[in-house]
Symmetry: C3
Subunit: 135 residues, 3 copies
C-alpha cells in the first residue's frame, strides 16, 4: 500500500498535523501487524512526531531551529536564500516510521505526526507506505 | 513480532543502554533476514545509536543538547516547563531501525542502542518490532 | 537483499553522494513495492538525504554542525578528541529509509542520499537492505 498525501503550507515555516491522513491510509491497508513509513520527498521540508495537544510545543521547536539556523547568515554559500531550510530539514529528518500493532498505529497518547514546512508556502507531497509483517 | 520493553529512568536527562533487550527480542523472533524497529511512543524521550564503550560520549551529546536548548529560556511558550525536552526529542528522533542479517542485528562494533530520557525520572515504554524480509 | 557498500572519505568532514550505489542495489533486488534501508554501522558518521544539485547546500549543513559542535570545546569529556563527530552523527542520524514504488526509489527530484563523514578520512561501510512488501 503506497499513497501520496497532498499538503498545502500557508507560511514559510509551519508544522502541519497529518496524523488523521496517515491513520486513514493504515485503515485502508487493513494491515494487522507491520509498520508505516511517512516519507517527505523534498529537501526543505521534513517529518516528525511530537505533541499535538499544545501547539506551542511546535512553535518552540521552530523557534529553536530558527535560532540555530537563522534565515540570513553571511556564512551560507548556497545562493537560493534557503540554506536555513535545508539545515532544519536535515536536523528534523525526512522519514518517520511507526509500528502497526493490532491494526493500529502505535502512536503514544500525546504523539501526532507532523509535516514540517521550512520553505513555504508551497504545495507538498508526503508518501505513506504501509508494510505488512510476515506472520 | 512486537514487544514492549519497560525502561525506568532515574534522572531528568539520561541515556540508557537497551541494546541487550533489543537483541533479545530479535533472538526470540528467529528472523533470519529483515530488520528491527525501535520506537519510543513519547514526546519528551527519544532513541539513538551511539558508542557504548565510553559513557562520556553520551554525556557530551547531552551537554551539547542542553546548551542548544537550555531548560529555562524566556522564549519558550509551552507552559509545562519541558519545552527543552520536546526540542531534544525532535532532534534525536523517536524511532530507529536496524537491519537484521544472518539472524543478527547489524550494529557496528562500537554501536549500542540508547533510550534517551529528556524529562525523567519516569517509567517509559519502548516498542520493538521485528519484520522478516520476503526471501 | 542485503549489501555492503564501501565508502572512502578523503577529509575529516565530508558528505559523499551514494545515491547511485543505493539505486543499484534496489535494481538488483528486483523489488517492485517495498522499501530500502540505508544503515551506517559507525558512531562518527551518518546518513542523510538532501539536495545534490548544489554542493554548497551540504557545505552549509556541515558549517552549521561545526558551529553547533566545535571540534575543540573544553566542556567535552570524551578523551578521543572526536566528541564533535559523535554529536554530529547523533543529530544527522544513522539510518534512512526510502519507500520503493513501481520498482523505483521514491526520492524527490532534488533528493540524493549522502554518507556523512564526521571523523575521516577513513574507509567506511554502509549497509543497504531492500525489503519487499507483501502484496
Amino acid at each position: 500500500m503506497f499513497e501520496e498525501i497532498e499538503v498545502s503550507s500557508k507560511s514559510r515555516e509551519e508544522f502541519i498535523d497529518i496524523t488523521r491522513s496517515v491513520e486513514n491510509v493504515v485503515k485502508k491497508s487493513a494491515v494487522h501487524e507491520g509498520f508505516c513509513i511517512v516519507y517527505v520527498p523534498h529537501t526543505t521540508a521534513g517529518v516528525t512526531v511530537n505533541e499535538n495537544a499544545d501547539p506551542s510545543v511546535c512553535r518552540d521547536i521552530l523557534g529553536m531551529l530558527s535560532r540555530l539556523a537563522p534565515r540570513d547568515d553571511p556564512q551560507y554559500r548556497h545562493s537560493e536564500g534557503n540554506s536555513d531550510s535545508h539545515i532544519k530539514s536535515a536536523l528534523i529528518g525526512f522519514s518517520h516510521m511507526i509500528p502497526i500493532h493490532d491494526s493500529r498505529l502505535t502512536l503514544g497518547t500525546w504523539q501526532g505526526v507532523f509535516f514540517c514546512e521550512f520553505d513555504g508556502p508551497r504545495r507538498r507531497s508526503v508518501f505513506v507506505s504501509v508494510i505488512s509483517a510476515k506472520m
